[in-house]
């Protein structure tokens, strides 16, 4: 079951949240090169950003809460 939206899937994330998760991971490398942020700080910045897509935001919020 998707940990974000509860969709019946056998994986941790459903298809749409999986691709949002992959995008978050991929983009972290670019952020790190640009500003040297920790993963947690990065998630915070992504959540605050007005341009973040809704699914990416949901995954980022979930990852941040999980860590907290």
């Amino acid at each position: 079951m998707c940990v974000v939206c509860g969709t019946n899937d056998e994986t941790e994330y459903c298809k749409r949240h999986q691709s949002a998760y992959e995008n978050l991971v991929k983009t972290y490398d670019i952020w790190q090169r640009a500003t040297e942020l920790s993963w947690d700080e990065y998630l915070g910045k992504v959540i605050e950003n007005e341009f973040t897509g809704f699914w990416a935001m949901e995954v980022a919020q979930r990852l941040k809460t999980k860590k907290g």
Binding site: R16, S19, A20, N23, L24, T27, I30, W31, R33, A34, T35, V46, N49, F51, T52, G53, F54, W55, A56, M57
Partner: protein, 692 residues
Amino acid sequence: MTYTLIIAEKPDAAARIAEALNDKGRPAKHARNGVPYYIGSRKGKEFVACSSIGHLYTVAAEDAGRFHYPVFSFNWVPKFTVERNSKYQRAWIEIIQDLGKEADDFINACDYDVEGSLIGFSILKYALGDVTRKSKRMKYSTLTKDELAHSYDNPLPTLDFSLIEAGKTRHEVDWLYGINLSRAMMKAAYTASDKYSALSIGRIQGPTLKALAEREREINNFVPIPYWSLKCAVEIDGKTFSVRYDKEKIDTRDEAQRIVNACNGKEGLVDLVEAKKYYEKPPPPFDVGGLQAEAYRLFGYFPSRTVALAERLYLEALISYPRTGSQKLPPSIGYRNILMGLGGLVEYSDLANEILSGRLIPNEGTKTDPAHPAIYPTGNPSRRRLSTEEHRLYDLIVKRFLAVFSTPSHKERTRARISCGEFIFSMEGFRILEEGWMRSYMPYTSAKEVPMPALTEGQRIIFLDLSAHKKFVQPPSRYNPSSLLKLMEEQNIGTKATRADIIETLMERGYIRDERITMTELGFGVVDTFEEMCQDILSVDLTRKLEKDMELIEEEKKTREEVLIEAVSFLRRTLATIRTDERRIGARLTEAKRRAWLDKVAVSSCPSCRTGKLLMIRSRSTGKVFIGCSNYQSGTCSFSAPLPQHGIIRPSHRLCHTCGYPTVIVRRKKSKPWSLCINIHCPSKEKWGKRQ
């Protein structure tokens, strides 16, 4: 006494045609049961001009039943017998049948395109006892007196049967796809939920939805990437100018800072100054897509509204036929007469007379349409006062027409390269040397001049104020009706006549919403289902192939029967797949409907109990809308919050920057949408209602 029966597409067109053809003044207007027709005479022979009112005949299944599929047997029947809101059409058919009894000649005078040919054909065949073989066809692009008279006196000797065949096939194939796939979807949803749902998909809806879903996924998955840009001012002769760093986006903060440290307050060297003069041709004349895009850009008109307004101007004989795909203006339209006509209108007299004094060569575009030229004004004065919207569109069409005949504009771009150590900056200037066509197209075009000081190579200038600014790469923009229409045109989805209606249908079905088009959960549900089960329905290849087939039918290289057999065999395979997996598909569609509902009413998780969902609820006792927790029923949470009672309220899926509570978007007429925090004690609201 016998007469010629003329069949026009709309009542206004019938009136225009009758007036243009009648030898002596206005023809006699008659009406029965609210259906008008006109009696007149031309060159000693009487004529009766009547009209259709859109399509009077349509494709319908031979047998009824809401969920029954597959359905491959169909007939052409009067529309009023199968569509509840077309009952009024019965009177039109009865009167046309009556008028046909004493006619000995028949002319289809509907608009000259596939739909017009088919409308006239179905009346001549089904209402008038199949007189199609002895009927003639009028061909015209404007409803002006001269063109109508010429077209009546020199009609095409037969109906345009190949065009009609293509039109019939398109209707039949679209009907086959639409009814079978939509019924299969509705049946699946009914099987899974025991509830009736209005769902539909078709040959054109499918690929359009898919393109929208792809864009929506990109936007929803988007993670912004930071970059830095430099802002820099220089002083030359006591005036401040801005210069641009060579690279628009700098990837890292350190790199941006390094440039600022290296150049700020330092001297730069102008090592290159170049000026480029060039001519810019006028824009091409409008085809329907171009007009829709421009009317949306300038006035915010939806494409369907633009076509409806243009249609009214056409029926007033003010412009030529608007549903054209052409960007060509052949000399046969009579440039000089049109410009002289426009010269007689106060608003356009100066420009029109100026153009008349030069050589009349239009700047045409590349698109062609065998049936009609590009959209152009007729030059006729209007007989009535145009509404503001009509006038705006008319003015746009006239000015584009005048621009097309105007001289190119002459412009100059200047660029200076300034180096500061290893870093390169540039300064750009822009001047309009001669306005040319831009003057004819005012106020619909503008180009801002950017002044540039006189610089010489080797000159030194000081970077006064250089700073780095953090920015973010933005997600791709949403489609709007105009850009979606352009995409459909580029990908050859649908026809120029149907594209605007498809967008409206997708809105009506609840698959998409808002002017900046947003895909709903229901739209995603439909796309996801078909992506898994039958990708062909969503593929542009399928619809492109059919468009190609239509062309082949028009060229008599393929038959209607062949195309129908191909469609049926494709549908048989697809429907069999859907049927075997009916329950699973139904469950997915039902889940999509549930999500769509939640998307409309669920604001976020409850900040009080953290397990429930905050929903927008309408009170049964007071009728007021408020926010309540889904755990209220079980008695574990009583969180609630008031909402504004006017306007449309939607969850924003964003949290308040001040207090972290969820927010909603409130939309009201004549005001911009605004974000509202649902927390009544939010510190951001402390100043509300207090005088400064």
